[in-house]
Symmetry: C2
Subunit: 116 residues, 2 copies
DNA sequence: GGCGTTATAAACCGATCAGTTATATATCCG
DNA sequence: CGGATATATAACTGATCGGTTTATAACGCC
C-alpha cells in the first residue's frame, strides 16, 4: 500500500539529509557522488535517500554517461505548501485564541467560569 | 537525541491521521475521545499521536476535569512553511529549467552539445 | 574485450513507528 | 470511601527507516 502523495512529501522532508539534498539541488543538477560528498554517508545511503525523494516526486533523474544526475522538481512541494497554508489564518495567536475560545464556549467544552 | 524541530514538524505531518487531527482542531479544542471517534483506532493510539504532535509543538494540552483537551498551535507550522516557501521561486517550471540549465553549464555538468 | 568509474541492489542490523491489549493514574460524583 | 469516566503508560508486535558492507550492473575508454 503506497502512502498518499502528501504523506510521501512530508515524510521525505522529515529527514535533514534529504532536505539538505534538496537545498543543494537548487544550485543545479548534481550526481550521486557530488551529493554524497558533504554528508559523510556512503553512496548507497544517498541512493536510498534519492529513491525516497523520487517517490515523493521531488526529484527526477536523468542519464549522462555513468552519471545519473538529479534535478529538483519543486512543483511537488506545492500540495504540501497548500496544506500548510490553510493554517496561516491561525498563526496570529490572538485570533487563534479568540477563535478557539469561542468554539469552546459554543461546544460547551469549558465552563467559562474562573477556575476555583 | 531529539530530532531538530523542523524534522519533528515534518515527521508529525507525514501521518494522515495526525493531519486529520490537526484539521479537526481548527474547529476548536477537543479531547481524546472526540479525536479518536472518526478514526477507528484505539484511544491509546490517539494518545501517542497527540504526544508526537505535542513534541513538534503543534498542539498544547490542558486540563478540564477528566478531560485533557488539545488546542491547535498553528504557529509551529511557520518554520515548515518558511522552509517550503524558499522553493516557490522554483515552482514555475520554465524558470526552474532555465535556472538549472544555466547552473549546469556554469558547473560544467553537461556538455551543452546535442546528444549523439 | 577488459578496466575503471558511477550508481544501484541485496542482505543485514539496530532503532523507531504505529498499532494492539492490559494496567495504572487522575478526576468527578454519590 | 468506592465507582465511573477519561486518559496515560507498559509491554508487546510487525513494519519501516537509515545506515552499513558486499556484490552487481551500465557506461566510457583504451
Amino acid at each position: 500500500m503506497p502512502p498518499d502523495p502528501l504523506s510521501a512529501v512530508f515524510a521525505a522532508l522529515a529527514d535533514p539529509t534529504r532536505r539538505a539534498i534538496l537545498v543543494r539541488l537548487t544550485q543545479g543538477a548534481a550526481n550521486v557522488g557530488e551529493l554524497a560528498a558533504p554528508f559523510a554517508i556512503s553512496p548507497p545511503a544517498v541512493s536510498k535517500h534519492l529513491k525516497v525523494l523520487a517517490r515523493a516526486g521531488l526529484i527526477t533523474r536523468g542519464r549522462a554517461a555513468q552519471s545519473r544526475p538529479c534535478r529538483l522538481e519543486a512543483a511537488a512541494l506545492r500540495p504540501a505548501a497548500d496544506w500548510i497554508a490553510t493554517y496561516r489564518r491561525h498563526w496570529d495567536e490572538s485570533l487563534d485564541r479568540l477563535d478557539a475560545h469561542l468554539q469552546d464556549l459554543q461546544s460547551g467544552m469549558v465552563s467559562d467560569e474562573p477556575a476555583s
